[in-house]
Symmetry: D2
Subunit: 395 residues, 4 copies
């Protein structure tokens, strides 16, 4: 048990860190999403990147913690990126990572960088070079690459040849980087292909990043693992190797469910943030970008994003309250239950009052969900955004 002064010091320190923490939101979370069975539409869904940014700005307005929005190209393709960027700034936002998309063109039926057809591979490389241009135009430095590439049937293509093609394509893209720019390379266990995936695990992503150079780092999407995978281990390992570039936060019970981060296993999210805190990786200098990547198939999208930001904040707050000295001492002593108890003590603490104070110190409402509801924004855009085609993730 710690003396009260110690705990108070911790809480004060935690508040200072929490006040600085930022989480990047994805433009596509404000559009419709769904499953292969159905995409449900909702009144007020944005019809273009401007409206998505406006929605994202709402999340930042009430949380004070979500000042960046990731774009997805071509979903967020516009004529004038200066104007889009300026619009974001007006809304109090900046543009974050640029996400490429090499899975929705008919040419990509058998993959993009791994495609057996050289023409398609060249097209996929060219798309990424275009994305680098967009990235610079909007003032971003991160290109996030998720290759949906894979195969559905044993024998369909050569696993080894595809791996070599991926390496070659990534090299061409990497060659287009300027100093200070980064590639964030995502991995995923399966889907949209169901036999092989060409970058299925952190090991494969890392191997490619190491072959490319220092400007390539791994993206860890919390929903992209085999059942039972210990994600905090991967976090710790990538931090140790200096190659954790970013998170795509979401949660899952089964596959890549893309549910609200922290909704399925809040304890896991806490354990992940504990590794982050232990490694000092909340410090932006370490280069870890904390992003959301979720699908709000059936729930209201802006409140879902607000809740997501809050869930990351709460897990972070708990991680910041872990008594590191007591934990280290118990670990070193081999006190299994004692060490576990130190961690659980922090997890079992109700940190919502602390975060309420952090928000109020910024002049925000203690309760972001209530604050957003009070703005009437949802009703306003539902009334205004009539006609046009609602933006839709994955289609």
């Amino acid at each position: 048990m710690r003396r009260i002064e110690e705990v108070i010091v911790d809480i004060a320190a935690a508040k200072a860190v929490l006040a600085q923490q930022t989480i990047e939101v994805p433009s596509w979370a404000y559009g419709n999403s769904g499953t292969r069975f159905k995409v449900f539409g909702t009144p007020g869904t944005p019809r273009d990147p401007w409206e998505k940014i406006a929605d994202a700005a709402q999340v930042n307005a009430v949380t004070g913690a979500a000042p960046r929005v990731s774009l997805h190209i071509p979903w967020d393709k516009v004529e004038d990126y200066d104007a889009l960027s300026a619009y974001a700034h007006e809304q109090g936002m900046t543009i974050g990572a640029i996400n490429s998309n090499v899975f929705q063109d008919d040419d990509y039926r058998l993959g993009s960088l791994a495609n057996p057809d050289a023409r398609v591979r060249a097209k996929a490389v060219a798309h990424h070079l275009d994305c680098l241009e967009v990235m610079r135009a909007v003032g971003s430095t991160d290109l996030k690459i998720w290759l949906a590439d894979g195969t559905n049937y044993a024998g369909q293509d050569s696993i080894r040849a595809r791996q070599d093609r991926v390496a070659e394509g990534l090299e061409q893209i990497y060659a287009g980087l300027q100093p200070g720019e980064r590639i964030l390379l995502e991995y995923k266990f399966f889907e949209p292909f169901f036999y092989t995936t060409d970058i299925p695990d952190w090991g494969t992503s890392l191997v490619h990043c190491m072959a490319l150079g220092e400007q390539a780092t791994v993206v860890l999407d919390t929903g992209h693992h085999a059942p039972g995978t210990n994600i905090e281990f991967i976090v710790a390992q990538l931090l140790r190797l200096g190659r954790l570039g970013a998170f795509d936060f979401n949660s899952r019970y089964y596959a890549d469910d893309d549910l609200i981060v922290g909704s399925a296993d809040p304890f896991q999210l806490f354990r992940i943030m504990h590794e982050i805190v232990q490694a000092g990786a909340l410090d932006p200098a370490l280069g870890v970008n904390f992003m959301l990547d979720q699908c709000h198939n059936i729930e209201a999208k802006i409140p879902a994003q607000i809740r997501s930001v809050m869930n990351v904040q709460e897990a972070t707050a708990k991680a910041l309250l872990v008594d590191a000295d007591a934990l280290g001492a118990a670990q070193q002593a081999g006190d299994v239950l004692g060490a576990h108890a130190v961690l659980m003590d922090a997890f079992n603490t109700d940190v919502r009052p602390i975060l309420a104070e952090v928000r109020e110190a910024k002049g925000l409402d203690a309760d972001p969900i209530k604050a957003f509801a009070a703005t009437g924004y949802a009703e306003k855009v539902a009334a205004e955004r009539v006609g046009g085609t609602q933006a839709s993730w994955g289609a």
Copy 2:
């Protein structure tokens, strides 16, 4: 080791059974399908139920083993079911199970029979009663029900209340059955919802069937289980209880991948067919309907269906070759390796020559894939089916 005469007797008997075996094909397998990320279109894809039936008839023409086609309502809704049925007969086909669809209307965002809104539940019941009418109109006796119902977040709805609502809705549908008609009730581990599914496992499906009565039986979709589930155990159990109504065959490495049956784990398919053979359930009198339910996202659809039918046939042929006497003796003696060897001996046999002979005895080509290619049908429909909207599964 058996005497050669014994093996010959077995092969002759196996051929007789194989010559009779039929597999039902799904109309939706001939339309486009895909993932939430992309549905790829293909030249020649059917635009209506007539064209789907025409394609299905091709599968039957070259295999001689696929004389029924399942319909999906409303995907296969037509004005005149008599005409559709007559068309099928002309093509050498009959209409098999009628599949309801209560997941693509906006009303079903929170479920169908399990929906918290009584109005939506009533609508879902009414749809099923309509499906019974279609069923009778096309001369079928099986209504297949897959409830996509579930929730995405803990607390979203009451698990228990939803279960009671499902029971109530099923009761209303069941009340609409006439003698000789059946409900086939499917279960699925997850998707399109990602926290709870209202009929997630065979136990739940069975419990509802038992509450309904003798005309309700369970559908086992081979892709609808948790990782590691022993499917042949469920087959054996449902046969033992007299409640195995049908299979939806497909295969998977990860989730509900809907790949070609037998492509991911041919040994598993063999083990399933071994249970069928042991229980005598190839006999139509036992009421097990062997159906395909697959998504040919990237491969040619008609050849994929042909391959699927052949894979089921090959697994069946191997199961028929198991030396039941030797197996039973080794099992009774507790000879672990000996019993296993008897089973593997059958699995390791190349049964393709046997099936070639079965086909040739029917006047068919020994190689259905080659035979279909030789018809030029694929090229013909690709040229003819221009314009219109291609049928699409799941959308």
Copy 3:
């Protein structure tokens, strides 16, 4: 947000329930346990049932919530069960469920009730009838049956024949029951066999219980499921069917890890207890026995049991704080995020102060772990229990 009076009423009501809640501890948790690779011994480990009961009584002494101890036969076989029972009473304990063991005799290499050899099956039945005698001798009414039966290789034995043998054996055991006595029938996904398990899932256990009669109910061991299985769904379903007889609580990340309940996924434990609370099943009248079944391979055993009891209490306390009215209203309104938020609000509450008050109201220390440490019991038994053979689970 509820008015403060409402919350106060809830807390008072919750405390009353928590003060009554009891959790049964297993005698074998105090012996050594381990994996196939190694069983680590520890100073002070009990050498006989008396010492195990003495240890269990320590857990009850500091928690006030663990007044029953389950026995395992033959591990806890003694000459004089009256004396053992009397000893338990002196320690403030009663004997709970009697657990049979049909997996450690050489005869059970190919199973017990499912064994192909009728002699072995008869022996397994006889053992259970003996257990019924022990049960009566110690004043218990519950016989818990876990059949470790299964096979390792496809073809090794007939799935169907084994199922019939299990049914027959259970029938013979059930016939030995007197009024007021129960069979608790456990299921398990896999281990110690690795191809089939004869009672692998709740559906199979239920099917057998229904065939037996009203005195047979299902035991849900929280570690005995396929990856991703929604356990609270099964809880809700078995409660709905009136067949949930007992829990074996523990937790897992991978297989049947038998870790401290609530240590791997505290949110899951809360969701389970939420179903219990919603169904009123904390009421002993509903017949659900809440038991622990764990292996403390590397941690101190008595503190681990204390922690386990506390974890169940905390999950229960949170479940009792769920605002049922608000939850029901949000569910009925289809407010996905609102309903989820009501549940999470309870989960995120720090209930430890409430439980501290419940303990203090009973005259106990607010902190059972500290209280146990203060007794010096661990040091005492480590010094006293020298020589003899330490009790060992699983061997």
Copy 4:
């Protein structure tokens, strides 16, 4: 369809390769093994390394393909390794990889190289240096390291600190290598610990091997992966990186079941061998050691090893029959079904006659199982090996 001459050429070439193929057998497979619940003994089980080697030699005698036996230290510790090695040679065997064991001493309760206690870490390093001495004494060059290290509870120890300790310990062991000697570093998903494992996946093993140097390579145990993991992908990736040192072959349905290789998913084994063949890695020059690592809990051990060797041979034979030209052409053309069909054509071929001929060409019986039974060896050792303590894996 290939011309008959082509197929004949393939078969002749395949036979030449198959005649050379060798599989290493583990000494511990001949001892008893089991689960945490029970280890069943069997008449004739070896009591010392000499008897294990004698048993292993039986496998080689009838298959002609298993001329090496791996040892496990300290299970196979003897006074005089020269004598043991000479005895092996007399039996027609050589000693293969030396396996260290840092999980059965009480000191390793919290891990070996990852242990928080520096004394224990030093002890674990020293054990490995001892193993290097044994390795040289028996004429082997491979030290296989499986670290059972891990933790059971979140917070129990620092994931990051443990990783650094493992790196440091491995470095000390690696420093003890002489030119031409190798470390084979195994990874495992979980067990005997159930929260973290310190080398849980191929990525971690690879990262350590790369840090160590060229003499460190990865061991792929086919049972050590998360559910659904595509193992042939890892094989292809490690071959591509030049770091696949060895296989531990076995098979599994659930966890690390250690069943007979090829018994659970023969198609998977074939796909693995296809990657090996494609990469030319049957050539000993590539340094891949094909080893068995299995537990024959309930079946006769020597026949089980014979069956295992045969299963690897059959999978290899099928892989050698894949029409590489046709496969490559279909893959390059993007012919999904065509390429898959080429692979399946080889898999569906009955290769047992080919292997029978390979054996007969060596003067062996076509049927190794029958040949072994005919020797009467099992009965002989059962009669002779009376008294003493049977060797037991894992205890």
